[in-house]
């Protein structure tokens, strides 16, 4: 369609004016249905947004509930695991320390019996006064000036002193003997103290463990009750675990990269370095496969040792089979680690050979030979790394398990966040459509303001005329 097709008359301005008035007239006459259409269309969109927002809100609620359930289930499992471990520790303490309690008690009672015997033997017995002391007393009361009596008394006095000296000596000996008994009691006391100390330590350890269990039990009860506090704690803990495990996994990826560089080059000697699969050299793929197999063995080993619980199948095996499997995994890992050490050694040889070739091509072959005298350090370091890294990577299983478990919750939280933003946008869209209807209706009226103004003026005039007629008829009636 060209502009000429739109020409009604020869004059373009006149044609434009005719078109303008035609459109204006059409818009004016279609005003009511157009308003209805605009309002209806906007209402449809508004309702669509509203209903969508409602649906997304429901989905968000369901996800929130599911996330809560997942958090609680994970928290419950973790708490059960911790409590179980604490009980195992208590069991071990009871088995180790309190199993010897009967012998300890026997030992204690023997020591106490010994102490008792020693105590009895150390009891002080006061020396008996000689029997004839009363006779001396009677003689001493005789009222006489007979020198014989004095002489007898003198003799008695001397005898008394002698007897006293003897008694004192005997008493001293007996005291010494008693002291010796008391001295003998000392090691028994110490032994008793030591045994009681051991018992005290064991009991204290049990008390501490029981306090820990109490704490975990409180947490567990909170989780079972599905309290909001527990959910908040678990959610926060899950986020922390997610970031920490992601950080540790990043470090592990770094380790794996070093490992990869150690073995990829020497593997070219075994599998060739020119063939490629999907653009990746086959030696790189082989190196990657070896590292992945090592990682898998590490995961299985940790699983068989019941440190992680990623594969319930392994954990559910009976202990005998599980331990055998653990040894198998360890053997494979050790074998692969030895291969890696060998490859690391080979890498150094290849690099030296390549350096020598480069030097020959440059025409300075002697310098390489002189510099290679200390290269055994790097060779040893590379071999050491080749041997240690597979075992270090084995422990990736722990952060990986945490990462996988926390990822579920974190993904749930992210999805909830996204859904909330979506809900907000849908509500915004709904409100926007609500006010858009008014804006469009007013804009429509703005376009046809001239006919509307005329319509208003005509209506006003008609109303005035009708008013005049009415007043005139009223006045005629009154006349």
């Amino acid at each position: 369609m060209t502009f000429n097709d739109l020409m009604i008359v020869q004059n373009p301005i006149l044609s434009s004016l005719i078109w303008f008035f035609l459109i204006l007239a059409t818009l004016y006459f279609a005003r009511t249905p157009a308003h209805k259409s605009i309002v209806a269309f906007c209402r449809v969109l508004q309702n669509t947004f509203r209903v969508s927002a409602h649906s997304v809100q429901k989905a968000e609620q369901r996800l929130l509930q599911r996330n809560r359930e997942v958090l609680l289930a994970q928290g419950m499992e973790a708490s059960e695991r911790i409590i179980e471990r604490e009980f195992e520790r208590i069991d071990a303490t009871v088995r180790k320390d309190l199993a010897e309690y009967p012998s300890l008690q026997r030992h204690l009672s023997e020591e106490i019996t010994q102490i008792d015997a020693d105590y009895k033997e150390s009891t002080e017995v006061p020396p008996e006064p000689p029997g004839w002391v009363k006779a001396v007393d009677a003689i001493a009361k005789i009222q006489t000036k007979d020198p014989m009596v004095a002489h007898i008394l003198e003799d008695i006095h001397n005898s008394m002193i002698k007897a006293n000296t003897q008694a004192t000596e005997e008493y001293r000996k007996a005291s010494h003997k008693r002291h010796m008994h008391l001295k003998d009691m000392m090691p028994h006391w110490r032994k008793v103290t030591q045994v009681l100390g051991q018992v005290d330590k064991s009991v204290k350890s049990l008390l501490t463990r029981s306090q820990t269990i109490d704490r975990h039990m409180d947490e567990y009860e909170g989780i079972v009750k599905a309290s909001d506090r527990s959910v908040r704690m678990l959610s926060s803990s899950s986020l922390t675990q997610f970031f920490i495990s992601a950080f540790v996994l990043t470090i592990a990826v770094g380790g794996a990269l070093i490992n990869f560089n150690l073995i990829a080059r020497p593997l070219a000697e075994m599998v060739g370095g020119t063939s490629r699969i999907m653009g990746v050299p086959i030696n790189s793929i082989a190196a990657l496969v070896i590292i992945l197999v090592e990682l898998a063995m590490g995961l299985f080993l940790m699983e068989a040792m019941r440190i992680t619980r990623l594969f319930p199948v392994i954990g559910a095996l009976n202990d005998k089979v599980r331990i055998r499997l653990a040894w198998t995994f360890f053997s494979i890992l050790l074998f692969l680690a030895c291969i890696e050490a060998g490859l690391a050694f080979m890498r150094e040889l290849i690099m030296q050979d390549a350096a020598a070739t480069r030097a020959i091509l440059r025409g300075d072959g002697n310098t390489e030979v002189v510099e290679s005298s200390y290269l055994w350090i790097t060779t040893a370091a590379q071999m050491g790394m080749g041997l240690v890294l597979p075992f270090a990577l084995m422990f990736v299983a722990i952060p990986l398990e945490t990462f996988i478990h926390s990822l579920r919750t974190v993904l749930g939280l992210i999805t909830i966040g996204v859904l909330r933003v979506l809900i907000w946008l849908l509500h915004l869209g709904s409100s926007f459509m609500r006010y858009t209807a008014s804006v469009l209706v007013n804009s429509y009226d703005l376009i046809i303001f001239a006919p509307l103004w005329i319509e208003k003026a005509v209506l006003r005039k008609t109303a005035i005329d009708e008013g005049d007629k009415e007043s005139r008829s009223q006045s005629t009636a009154s006349i």
Binding site: I277, I285, T357
Partner: protein
């Protein structure tokens, strides 16, 4: 349960082994170097040796390298001084490189100047060799002053099929006549450029041997 676990492990092992299947893609590169041995240009062979050694140090296992002389009749396998497709194993590649270098050393010591310069014949031989080698990246290096002198009766007015081949002119020395009229030198370079580009090849000139790093850009 244990059986299932062992079966799963076996599957992973089989997958690991089968993934190592041979699938040689066109990722290797082939380099064919033409060395002009005509007239006084024989004096430049020391530079050629340097370029060959540099190229050897840059090539990897699986790459192909051939060095041929340009003389009176260059379209012949007999002109190839040495050719090697390097082994997949790096250690073997190193041994091959050393052997290659020794062969070139012997050639440089015993090289005699030829009367004519059949560069086009050499390029045709290079195209044939590189196409047969079927390498991913193909490079022809021409170590010459690019002054072609053909013996009477030799037909070399043949269009070159250089699709996907990089042609690098190295150490294009200026002749005495070039000094008198530099347009001769520029025209010579331009003629070769047109000839190569008309054949679908990419043309480059490296005269500064200190910038050999640009060879394999």
């Amino acid at each position: 349960m244990l059986n299932q676990f062992l079966k799963a492990m076996l599957f992973v092992a089989i997958l690991s082994v089968t993934s190592c299947a041979d699938n040689k893609g066109p990722y290797n590169q082939g380099v064919y170097m033409l060395i002009d041995t005509s007239g006084t240009y024989t004096k430049e062979l020391g530079h050629a040796q340097r370029i060959i050694n540099f190229t050897l140090s840059k090539l990897n296992p699986g790459d192909t390298f051939a060095v041929a002389r340009v003389d009176t009749a260059s379209f012949s396998e007999k002109n190839i001084i040495d050719k090697q497709t390097f082994d997949e194993r790096p250690s073997m590649t190193n041994q091959q490189k050393r052997k290659f270098r020794d062969t070139i050393d012997k050639f440089v010591k015993a090289a005699k100047p030829s009367a004519y310069t059949d560069i086009t014949g050499g390029i045709l031989q290079a195209i044939e060799y590189l196409n047969e080698a079927n390498t991913g990246k193909k490079t022809i290096m021409i170590f010459s002053d690019l002054k072609e002198e053909l013996r009477k009766g030799y037909v070399r007015d043949i269009p070159l099929q250089l699709n996907g081949i990089n042609v690098i002119a190295l150490n294009v020395t200026k002749l005495r006549s070039d000094n008198i009229d530099p347009r001769e030198y520029l025209d010579r370079l331009d003629d070769w450029r047109k000839k190569v580009e008309a054949g679908g090849g990419k043309w480059r000139v490296i005269n500064d041997l200190e910038r050999l790093d640009r060879l394999f850009d």
